[in-house]
Amino acid sequence: MLFTVTVEVMPKASVADPEGATIARSLDTLGFPGIAQVRAGKVYQLSLEAPSEDVARSTAQDMASKLLANPVIESAAITAVARTDTAGIR
């Protein structure tokens, strides 16, 4: 089965995020009020062939801890959704 797996890599709460802080200031300058905090991260979207959602998720977890995230400074959140159409996959 084909899954769309999303791996969301974010700086850990304990780690300073100057990029997020700068974006927060810029948004404030643009006139968006009420911003308490912005954290900036990266999102990876994979089309992954796997026998089940659990396997898709645990495979992605393994990918995150081995490569996509640096566990010293980043955490990864994973979602896996079964795909019903495969159009657009190359």
Partner: protein, 221 residues
């Protein structure tokens, strides 16, 4: 016997020729070794020079870590051989878990390229054995991700075991405890952000990097 140095080169490395030239200047034999090498027999010292290996894709050093040569680097390091990472090389060594911690974006979010003053904090590393503790060196830095960070427990260990090799006099990037370079517990694996090869000739404005390179090349295994 002349010390033989392998200067490891990845796609996107850009300080390899400067490094070879500086090493030659102090009498070492230095070869460029492409990242697909699987053995490093015959070399006394390994240097991972600065640059942008694999375009800094994903994170600096994250892809280089999986290059074929890194297996041989790990074996060389665990046998006690001196392995030095300069700038991007430091980033590669942390990603490869040969050194603890990580190098984040500079707190200023600016690329910093200037000469800084760093203090030698230990002479028990392969890079500082010929320097003196407390000696201050003027050496250029040139990085966007040089802001060293690690968890509190790791930081405590690094300080307690005197594994901070170089410390900035004026912190240019936000790194924890002003750390500019660290080493592994045995002192043979060292990562530093400053570029000693760019402080290796009067014409470059400083020769303060030579004592580091000479320390490195004083070890023939």
């Amino acid at each position: 016997m002349t010390t033989r140095v392998a200067v490891l080169t990845f796609p996107g490395t850009n300080c390899e020729f400067d490094t070879v030239k500086a090493l030659n200047r102090i009498g070492c034999d230095a070869d460029l070794v492409w990242h697909d090498a699987r053995q490093l027999n015959g070399y006394d010292v390994l240097v991972i020079p600065g640059g942008f290996s694999y375009g800094d894709y994903l994170r600096p050093g994250a892809i280089a870590r999986f290059s074929p040569v890194m297996q041989a680097v790990e074996e060389f390091a665990s046998a006690g051989g001196p392995v030095i990472g300069i700038c991007n090389g430091f980033q590669v060594l942390t990603e490869a878990h040969l050194l603890p911690g990580a190098l984040q974006k500079n707190i200023s979010l600016r690329f910093v390229c200037r000469t800084v003053r760093v203090r030698v904090e230990t002479v028990r590393s392969s890079l500082t054995r010929m320097a003196s503790k407390g000696q201050v060196l003027s050496i250029p830095i040139n990085h966007f991700e040089g802001n060293f960070t690690c968890d509190d427990a790791t930081l405590e260990i690094l300080e307690e075991e005197e594994r901070v090799v170089l410390r900035y006099e004026n912190n240019p990037n936000g790194s924890v405890n002003d750390i500019a370079g660290i080493c592994n517990p045995t002192g043979n694996v060292v990562g530093i952000m400053p570029h000693p090869e760019r402080a290796s000739d009067e014409m470059l404005g400083s020769t303060d990097g030579l004592v580091l390179l000479e320390s490195l090349c004083s070890v023939s295994r």
